[in-house]
Symmetry: C2
Amino acid sequence: MTARAEATRERLLKAAKQLVMSKGFAGMSIDDVLKATDLTKGAFFHHFKSKADLADQLMRWYAESDMKMFRTLLAEAEAAHDDPLDQLLKFLTDFEAYLCDPKHPPRGCMYALYTYEDDHFENTVKDFVAETLRTWTAMYIRKFQEVIDRYPPARHVTAKQLAEMFVAVIEGGLILERAHKNPGMAARQSEQFRSYLELLFPSAPHEKAA
Amino acid sequence: MTARAEATRERLLKAAKQLVMSKGFAGMSIDDVLKATDLTKGAFFHHFKSKADLADQLMRWYAESDMKMFRTLLAEAEAAHDDPLDQLLKFLTDFEAYLCDPKHPPRGCMYALYTYEDDHFENTVKDFVAETLRTWTAMYIRKFQEVIDRYPPARHVTAKQLAEMFVAVIEGGLILERAHKNPGMAARQSEQFRSYLELLFPSAPHEKAA
DNA sequence: TTTAACATACCGACTGGTTGGTTTGTAACA
DNA sequence: TGTTACAAACCAACCAGTCGGTATGTTAAA
């Protein structure tokens, strides 16, 4: 694949992402993508063998950049602090900043979107979404486990419960954000989640810093 | 409208609800609905003047039964306890039971679904969804305010923040439930939320009962 | 009480536009 | 010169929506 071809592919994916985010996958036609990119059927079917293939590649493309972002944020947080809870809290605040950054306005989560259009996707795609969410959750589980191991939580709670709650809170926040056209709602959910964490781990250093 | 006509209308709405929940609105064709109901175009367009009109009526129909359920659960909780926090906690556990009840398997939330298909709906529909979510949230705000007024929260928190977090947590839980085909994940989110509440309001009677 | 007049509730063939997808052609590059 | 990367015309299937028709009431005048 030449550089020019790769650029064309990205143009298609980028336009498709935007369209999918606002109309859903079934609601977006291939012609929509072509109109948005000034390309033609020939170009589209050169890069994707079908619309279902676009769904697949789009999700993988999205997940890749998404996971990269999370891994970067987490790596930065781990570099900045020794304490696992400090790392986690920095990760959360950094993520909140990302959520509020108007530079990333295609608001919403494509996993959620695919999940709500279930029937249109092949099992391979659905499994990939589930798998990606699992990987994402697993990342947090590890970190939460470190925190729990070091600090006794004020109530019994498992790392998995906290990890899943964080994912849920963000997904839900993004829905509210869209429904109310009110950017920042997802970030505010993350804040509340941090508040929960601080109550759960009162003996941790963040209290002393305050 | 005769009883028979009303029955037909409900058949159409019910089938549409199920189909929308699994394929999204754009992904569902009118023919899909007709196949599911063994009715014809004539019947459909007698009851709905267009597919957009179906979207509108379907959402209103859904919201009505949805709100009725919530109001009932809340009224029962208020009848069972005097203390606002006890009422809230009972409401949450009852709601969790509802979420886990296999009798309600069209899992997911239609507000979320519509929200992720934005562009296909008229503003009246989108506004209605936002308005319904606001009403829903307002119900919780009132209750949380009563709790906050009576018990000093362990951390500064507003009723609105808690109300929105609960909605977010449920919406997010439903997404996870769908993605992982794991019923009960939404209920588990509600449990975690309760755990947060119990940390926030440690002076409340639920601790003494335990 | 019959029956004519009308309304409601539904049927199903049909239409024009849109859909995802194919095929053929061509320009540029390797 | 062969292959890649795209263009453009094309197609069958499907889409939402229309329309002429029928069957089943309901009302009310004769």
